[in-house]
């Protein structure tokens, strides 16, 4: 017989959405049970070894139609454990769009601002200073400056960063202020119970009200099901991420899964004569926003961000094989790398089984091509010898003319050799009306009392910037609304 538990509230997920809600509810005195599908791995267990940490911390899904890898953190702390620590406030244009197109007045810039500042403070977002400026980031910055492009060192949520370049393997010094080190301990200090390795399978809804959550307890290594349990509760906040929340809602009998959007991403790799040692330094620390279409920019919707040049990722990005590839890898210390990330227009769907139906539109392919060409231009302006782009059959770009030719040539989707996304949005979006979304602006699911969506699945569209602060601010706002309603009910 399945074990039975009970709580005033259940929060599903411990990432940027779940952990702030859990802390808010627990600090308001609610008996809060927090479910996390992944294992709890502490700072001392972050080894920095690529293969091991990838296997222990990440969830990998595939969007077959786009040939895109989709990643999320699957551990206590969720994707905040494996993100690059970049902090951006939500762009006002995006919030205005959510107000205008979806009727979400509570997300107007002035209304959301207090929660944004609270999240900013809670996770210790701070400017990146010269002591944390890597040669890798400096090359991209130099290129942008020489081209007269707009760019900035990016704020990060760190305290005492040691520049190891391991942000997305789990920070082994505890410098990165993921929710594992911020909101989760706060929730626990306030009495919340966190059950790691516990996956929610279905929310039981009877008579239009939440009654319980059915869960399975999984093996931390193999993820095989060990035990089943049921948690009695009148209130559930779902924050299982875009790869989890829409599917869970559908498995619970709700309509969800539409309108999923990504920030499609790929990398360019530049070789310099001098050593860069791009495997160290903050994994990301500088962003070119010249081609962005938010925060006052009118570009095509592309961000170019410096990113670490570790061996495995670099090996996959360099062309050829055999002796020629080995020769390129012997120059690993000389590579700088940049992430080209676009604000997609493509929308897809996540099914009840988690299958992702998503085919990249031609306009997004154009954005990726423009971004690659721009990143290559920036590196060449900074003195790079050559720049590799992840396009089958392409030759290294060595001159501005090469970049111009590359930008002008048609790019077939099948020619891209690498494409992925870690910023995922939607699938259970907020809207003013049930025919336009899954939940209202409080995150409350239409037609079900006691069920809230508190993560990026509730956001109506992509943000155009790294989204953790936006997700946290929205979760804090929803948590406050849930507490208010519980007290007044």
């Amino acid at each position: 017989m399945a074990a039975r538990l009970a709580a005033d509230a259940v929060v599903i997920g411990t990432g940027a959405g779940g952990a702030p809600v859990a802390a808010t509810l627990a600090e308001a005195g609610m008996d809060t049970l927090v479910l996390e599908a992944g294992p709890r791995i502490g700072t001392d267990d972050f080894t920095g070894e690529e293969g091991e940490m990838m296997a222990r911390l990440y969830r990998l899904d595939v969007a077959p139609g786009s040939g895109m890898a989709l990643y999320a953190g699957e551990c206590v702390g969720g994707s905040t454990v494996i993100n690059d620590a970049l902090c951006f406030r939500p762009p006002p244009e995006i919030l205005d769009e959510w107000v205008d197109a979806y009727g979400l007045g509570a997300l107007a810039p002035s209304a959301l601002a207090p929660f944004v500042e609270q999240a900013w403070h809670d996770v210790h977002a701070e400017p990146t200073d010269r002591a944390h400026t890597s040669r890798n980031a400096a090359r991209l910055a130099a290129g942008a400056e020489r081209l007269g492009w707009s760019g900035n060192a990016t704020p990060r949520n760190v305290i005492g960063c040691a520049n190891l370049g391991l942000c997305n393997l789990g920070c082994p010094t505890g410098a990165k202020q993921s929710t594992l080190l911020t909101y989760v301990p706060r929730a626990e200090r306030a009495g919340a119970r966190v059950l790691a390795g516990t996956r929610a399978e279905r929310i039981l809804i009877e008579g239009g009200r939440v009654r319980a959550v059915e869960v399975v307890i999984v093996d931390p290594t193999t993820r095989a099901v060990r035990e089943r349990a049921r948690v009695e509760t009148p209130l559930v906040c779902v924050a299982a991420g875009v790869l989890g929340t829409p599917a869970l809602l559908q498995q619970s009998g709700l309509r969800a899964g539409d309108g999923v959007q990504f920030h499609s991403s790929l990398h360019v790799t530049a070789r310099f004569a001098e050593p860069i040692h791009g495997y160290y330094g903050p994994t990301m620390a500088y962003a070119v926003d010249e081609l962005s279409d938010v925060n006052g920019h009118a570009g095509p919707g592309v961000m170019i961000e410096s990113v670490s040049a570790h061996p495995v990722a670099t090996a996959g990005a360099l062309p050829g094989f055999g002796a020629a590839h080995e020769a390129l890898m012997r120059r690993l210390a000389h590579y700088a790398r940049a992430l080209v990330v676009i604000r997609d227009r493509t929308r897809g769907r996540i099914g009840s089984d988690g299958a992702v139906d998503h085919t990249l539109e031609a306009s997004d392919l154009e954005r990726l091509r423009a971004g690659m060409a721009a990143a290559a231009r920036a590196y060449l302006a900074a003195g790079a010898i050559e720049v590799h782009v992840p396009v089958s059959g392409s030759v290294p770009l060595r001159t501005d003319a090469d970049c111009a030719r590359f930008a002008a040539d048609p790019l077939a989707a099948s020619a891209l050799t690498s494409l992925y996304a870690v910023h995922l949005f939607g699938g259970a979006r907020m809207a003013a009306r049930p025919d336009a979304g899954v939940c209202d602006e409080r995150g409350a699911c239409f037609g079900v009392r006691g069920l809230y969506v508190a993560d990026a699945a509730g956001l109506p569209s992509s943000t155009g910037v790294n989204p953790q602060i936006t997700i946290m601010a929205n979760a804090l706002r929803i948590g406050a609304a849930v507490v208010h309603e519980a007290r007044t009910a």
């Binding site: 690529e50 370049g165 992925y420 870690v422």
Partner: protein, 199 residues
Amino acid sequence: MMAPDAMAPLVRAGAGLERRAFLRLAGALVAAGCVPAGCGGVPSRWQPGPAVRLRVLSPRAYATFSAAAARIVGPSGGAMIEQRVVDVASVADGLLARAPALAGPLGQALAVLEFGVWPLVAKIRPFTGLGPHAQDAVLDDLMRSRWTLKRQLVGGVRSLALLAFYTQPQSRVISGYPGPFGSERIPIGAAMVGAADTS
């Protein structure tokens, strides 16, 4: 770190291969026993050792992958694979066991690489039975092909080989990567603005 993009080329090739009816046919032939899963006729240096416990790959796929990876990573890494200093096929088997969506198409791609013949693959003998130069010629033909299928076929194997090899600390003698926490010769500070050049 193995940033998310480290797996992306493999996923991209795997997803492309998954859509190929031809490869599904190859998978069905393997499953039906029409294509050998054992290592009869395969040089012993590519066969799994007695201690190897495979979860996804067949012994034949293990051997094919080892042989292909040895050519893909280059002469120094290839020697490590051949001398079993690095067991890339076991690493790949573990990776595929955690990514079931990729295991099928990659296994099928290895079957085609081993048993496929001209005009799909430029050879008439099993890949593991070819000499190094002939193996290089096969890989080169696939990588330069105008056919997306052929590029994806070798692209998946290439991505998995590089992933499996460069996650191993032994590969650092080639890449010069000092490891996650720096070294005496290349400390973390060498990567920061203002540091003296250290190559």
